[in-house]
């Protein structure tokens, strides 16, 4: 059947091995892209005509904010797959993603706050973009807390999955908040398809950072997934052979 590859991939020993093999293939390109993006953004890109050199925070703020949402979407999709098709590996992906996403949400809030101080004159305002991003951090925290508060793993997976899926509502709110409400936050920089509001020498470092952060997430996810699989499969026979890569 055409689905055998899928079941094979979703089998824990396979996933464990494949994740171990893939991690460096995501990790090293990520390192190169982030290094190039930082060099391009901090050194090569010209200062912004309004924000001077202060705009360079965008090169770390936008990729963190992107990951905060992309990781959440991945987590929710994995959780939904786990819930509907009862694939345990999907729950493991969701569980492995939560701390990564939470860390980048905190980073997006922190770098945004640091950027806001010189540009807006305040560290924080309770406007739609900032508040909905803060809510995202609470959603991550809630998913992780819920998971760790239930001893039975299947029940913990299901409960965390439901909360993660419900929380998806927040993603479009974050994205469109700058259009739906009056906000101090500037509009999006590159998601205007075909017409990014940035010059090329400012834009490519940002794209490098966005791609670099995405690959970085894939690499870290691989490693965390391996740990998650080992914990979940501790009584499985494949672990008793003593051949862990």
């Amino acid at each position: 059947m055409t689905w055998t590859w899928f079941h094979k991939l979703a089998s824990p020993p396979h996933a464990y091995r494949i994740a171990g093999r893939l991690a460096p293939w995501f990790g090293w390109p990520a390192a190169v892209l982030v290094a190039a993006g930082l060099y391009g953004g901090l050194v090569l890109a010209p200062p912004d005509y309004q924000q001077g050199d202060g705009f360079r925070i965008v090169y770390v703020h936008a990729p963190s904010a992107w990951l905060s949402m992309m990781v959440y979407a991945t987590m929710a999709i994995a959780a939904a797959i786990g819930l509907v098709w009862r694939i345990k590996l999907a729950h493991a992906v969701a569980a492995a993603s939560a701390p990564i996403g939470a860390s980048f949400t905190a980073l997006a809030l922190a770098t945004g706050s640091i950027w806001g101080k010189p540009m807006w004159g305040t560290w924080w305002v309770w406007d739609a973009r900032l508040t909905s991003e803060l809510l995202l951090l609470f959603l991550y925290a809630g998913v992780m807390a819920l998971r760790s508060s239930i001893d039975d793993r299947d029940r913990a997976d299901r409960a965390a999955a439901v909360l993660a899926i419900v929380g998806v509502v927040n993603l479009p709110i974050i994205h469109y908040s700058v259009y739906w409400w009056n906000t101090l936050h500037q509009g999006s920089t590159i998601t205007k398809i075909g017409k990014p509001s940035m010059a090329g020498d400012m834009l490519w470092p940002l794209l490098a950072m966005l791609l670099g952060f995405t690959l970085y997430y894939a690499a870290v996810l691989c490693v965390r997934l391996r740990a998650e699989v080992l914990v979940r499969e501790r009584d499985a026979s494949w672990l008793r052979t003593g051949s862990l890569g």
Binding site: G54, L107, I114, W115, A227, L230
Partner: protein, 53 residues
């Protein structure tokens, strides 16, 4: 070089942002590796205990 570090007067905002980002990038790698190493040694110890009579 010093004008690069000065960041047009925004040094106090740009460099902490970069520093925080590098810290989060490093933390994620270290935390993931630590989780894997720990899970691996637990799994191997458990397997060894079960293999013993």
């Amino acid at each position: 070089m010093s004008s690069f570090l000065y960041m047009g007067g925004y040094a106090a905002y740009v460099w902490p942002s970069i520093g925080l980002t590098l810290a989060v990038l490093a933390w994620n790698v270290l935390a993931a590796r630590r989780a894997h190493v720990r899970a691996r040694s637990h799994a191997l110890a458990r397997a060894a205990r079960k293999a013993a009579p």
